[in-house]
């Protein structure tokens, strides 16, 4: 019996040691600089949020958190870097709707497996996007605009920051939901698309890029595409309130992801810290300037959200007959 008891004791001890080591490992993180990869060029919303998060995490955890920009190929290059990194928590990705929920369903060959090679860690922020039109267009409410579009099929245009972006999907979804035929005009990025919206070459755009222009009167916002109104713009109705409940586009989200196979305690630790960083009241005005609000969800919720959105976008693409050739 001694042998048996010894074995049990040994096993228990080993188990205890392993747990302690696990916890110790988690406690010890981070012991060296961490890099947060942004899959876009510096200067956009994703980049700004990444830098804010880096600053926040650095203050909380004591180690430098460095933002690394790896732009290109609609975000797949940067995502690939993280997908191929070791899952030790020292390489993180600031993920957003475009590369994570939209890109995988467009049929482009990706150098990584979007489900297996990435671990969703935390959903950190959500942005508001709006339905905006050029002020010269004779419509003051969403209903008027839809009527106008139906009366002139094929004459109006909507802008997007590229084929396969949120603006593109949102615009086509609108066509399906409202029964209109507004022509899609893709641009290279957000800046030229907003420029043409303001100039009047295109009449409509759905997204979050022109919030400030709207405040200055260069763009007229008819509705918000988020499920609830934004506290900064209380007079703007949601799409459902404005009369188009069939339009259900998810808000643009931002989150932290890591390479596939990250240990659970590590994921939870980073989740906690990053949520605390963004829900800190000092962060709130900066988030507002970016048209965003902080979120607090578990990694499972985050993972489920990404999967659901992929399904949603696939349905939209099918309904709107969107073709993605390669």
């Amino acid at each position: 019996m001694n042998g048996f008891r010894a074995t049990i004791a040994g096993a228990l001890a080993a188990l205890g040691l392993a747990c302690a080591a696990d916890a110790a490992l988690a406690q010890a993180y981070p012991t060296k600089p961490v890099r947060i990869v942004v899959a876009f060029a510096p200067g956009g919303r994703t980049d700004a949020l990444a830098r804010l998060m880096a600053q926040g995490l650095q203050e909380r955890l004591g180690q430098p958190f460095v933002v690394e920009n790896r732009g290109g190929a609609s975000g797949s290059l940067g995502t690939d870097v993280v997908a191929k990194a070791p899952p030790d928590g020292y390489t993180l990705l600031l993920a957003t709707t475009g590369p994570q929920a939209v890109l995988p369903i467009t049929g482009k060959k990706l150098p990584y497996d979007p489900d297996k090679d990435l671990t969703p860690i935390a959903l950190i922020a959500e942005s508001y996007s709006f339905f905006g039109i050029n002020p010269a267009v004779p419509a003051k409410t969403l209903a008027e605009f839809i009527a106008l579009a139906k009366a002139k099929p094929g004459e109006l245009n909507f802008a997007s920051s590229g084929v396969g972006t949120f603006n593109h999907f949102a615009g086509e979804f609108f066509n399906v939901a409202a029964g209109t035929k507004i022509t899609h005009v893709p641009y290279r990025g957000g800046a030229p698309s907003v420029t043409d919206l303001v100039a009047g070459n295109v009449q409509m755009m759905i997204g979050g890029e022109f919030i400030e222009n709207a405040r200055a009167g260069q763009v007229r916002i008819l509705a918000s595409t988020n499920p609830t109104r934004w506290s900064e713009m209380p007079d703007v109705p949601t799409m459902a309130e404005a009369g188009l409940p069939a339009f259900k586009a998810p808000p643009i989200w931002f989150g932290l992801m890591g390479p596939g196979g990250m240990p659970r305690p590590l994921v939870e630790q980073i989740n906690r810290e990053s949520v605390k960083a963004f829900t800190d009241p000092k962060m709130t005005p900066k988030l507002v300037a970016l048209g965003s609000v902080a979120r607090d969800e578990t990694p499972e919720y985050f993972a489920a959200q990404i999967r659901n959105e992929q399904k949603l976008f696939t349905e939209v693409a099918k309904a709107a007959d969107m073709k993605f050739e390669d």
Binding site: P42, G44, G72, A191, T195, N213, A216, A289, D326
Partner: protein, 500 residues
């Protein structure tokens, strides 16, 4: 009008505080030092130093970033002149005559010209931003896809008309440049073209990669292949300063360059680079002795440098007026603002006047500082050329490689630089002009994008190019340029100029 003067006064008061002056100086200094390193352009520098600015008040942060931008631009011109390495796309033109001047021992004069021309352009542009921002923005807003297409076509045709030598070669180079420009994802359909399955190529080949390879690496190869004799030919440095003749020639070129740069720089997306090419072409056309261009004509440095700087400052205008960044550098400034909690808005001038006008005033101060920093340094930079080439060229190669890597951390791009180096060598040996290639490479995809977008918006109606007034005017200029090319008398003049 009085309002603006008062605002400028406010701006100067803000910009001239001791701490803001210090940050401006720091930014300009760091920008220059890093910009001198080949391949590391303003964007990389600004990204590197962005975290430092978190702890500064927003106005100081933006002032410092702006200082870094000009500094890096000027540093890029320095390497263009001394080593034929364009620090960024708008320095490509400076490589042509600036380097030629350096090879004739007039590096000091070239550097000084670049500094002075840039300063002048900077001063004028600052005033332009302050006083003429609304009308310029309104004019820029009238440019739709049709107008952009016409403008770019004009640019390409001008490149042929004004290049020395057989036009056939220039046209061939343009076509080649266009072909390389097509690499990447097509904007309108999202399909990949010519990417050979490499996702790195999905955004096209970087301009920095192409220009560093064609000019910088090829130059190293040429020097090594030609043997030591070719390097020794470089005349000893004669003078650091500009002669009166220099000033007389450079002065009007600077004026013209400023005008061209400012006008083209206001157009969102294109700006500084197009301006420098255009200025070079104009100077060559107007000159009584066009054959000097390519051999060290000082107008070929003064004009494009002025245009370059004017364009860079003018590209602030769409950002300040619309809150929309017109190129990647402005995007960085916007990002910096967002991090500080300021949403870049068209109403920035009203919401945060001290920030807006302080930034504008510091632009001028920054230019002044650049002059103060760089003119004395001219001697130092030129001494660099005395380093034995055996040691210098590996350094150049290393800096190029590292520089390219810092932009996108892509080893593929470094390999591409080598490839373009070989290509540049071949082109130069075959007497094929490089400038049209680079211009076509940059303008080609833009031209195509605008052509297709114009057609999309007009639902297939090609007369849209003729019914819109600006577009029509530009296309008429195109026709005129082509006619000039074909006119026999002009051809005779070019032939004699070429032979002379």
């Amino acid at each position: 009008m009085n309002d603006v003067v008062a605002s400028l006064g406010l701006g100067l008061a803000v910009a001239a505080t001791a701490s803001n002056l210090w940050y401006c100086f720091l930014g300009a200094l760091i920008g220059t030092l890093i910009g001198v390193l080949p391949g590391i352009g303003p964007i990389a520098t600004m990204a590197m130093l962005l975290p430092l600015t978190y702890y500064l008040p927003p106005t100081a942060a933006l002032i410092m970033l702006a200082g870094i931008y000009y500094g890096a631009q000027y540093g890029g011109s320095t390497t263009a002149i001394l080593m034929r390495l364009p620090g960024e796309s708008s320095s490509v033109v400076t490589c042509l005559d600036g380097y030629a001047m350096a090879q004739r021992g007039r590096a000091g004069a070239a550097l000084a010209t670049a500094a002075l021309a840039s300063f002048f352009a900077g001063t004028v542009s600052t005033l332009l931003i302050a006083f003429a921002s609304p009308p310029l923005t309104a004019m820029a807003q009238r440019f739709g896809p049709a107008e952009y297409f016409a403008l770019m076509t004009l640019g390409l045709i001008a490149a042929v008309v004004f290049t020395q030598g057989p036009p056939l070669r220039a046209v061939a180079m343009i076509f080649l440049g266009l072909l390389f420009g097509f690499v990447g994802a097509d904007v309108e359909t999202g399909r990949d073209r010519f990417t050979f399955g490499l996702p790195e190529l999905r955004d096209g080949i970087g301009v920095v990669v192409v220009s560093m390879g064609l000019f910088g690496i090829a130059e190293v190869m040429l020097n090594l292949a030609g043997g030591a004799a070719q390097r020794g030919e470089r005349a000893k440095l004669s003078r650091l300063w500009l002669t009166r003749a220099d000033l007389a020639a450079a002065w009007p070129a600077t004026l013209r360059g400023t005008a061209i740069g400012a006008l083209l720089g206001v157009l969102p997306g294109g700006g500084a680079m197009l301006g420098s090419f255009a200025s070079y072409a104009v100077e060559k056309r107007i000159s009584a002795t066009p054959h000097r261009f390519g051999e060290g004509a000082i107008e070929g440095v003064a004009g494009p440098e002025a245009a370059n700087n004017a364009g860079a400052q003018a590209s602030f205008i769409p950002m300040l007026a619309l809150g929309i960044p017109s190129n990647s550098v402005m995007a960085m400034m916007v990002g910096a603002m967002m991090i500080h909690g300021i949403a870049p808005s068209p109403n920035l001038a009203i919401a945060r006047p001290e920030l807006f006008w302080g930034l504008i005033a510091s632009m001028w101060i920054g230019n002044l500082m650049l002059l103060v920093i760089n003119l004395p340094l001219v001697g130092v930079w030129v001494r660099l050329l005395d380093v034995p080439y055996r040691v210098l060229f590996p350094a150049i190669l290393l800096f190029c490689c590292i520089g390219i890597y810092t932009v996108n951390s892509s080893a593929t791009e470094i390999v591409l630089v080598a490839a373009f180096g070989v290509l540049g060598l071949v082109f130069t040996r075959l007497d094929c002009p490089l400038a049209p290639f680079v211009l076509a490479f940059i303008l080609g995809p833009l031209m195509e994008e605008n052509l297709r977008r114009a057609m999309l918006l007009s639902r297939g109606d090609p007369t849209v190019f003729l019914t819109r007034p600006i577009s029509l005017a530009l296309l008429v200029c195109c026709a005129a340029a082509v006619a000039l090319l074909l006119l026999p008398s002009f051809r005779r003049v070019r032939a004699t100029a070429g032979a002379g």
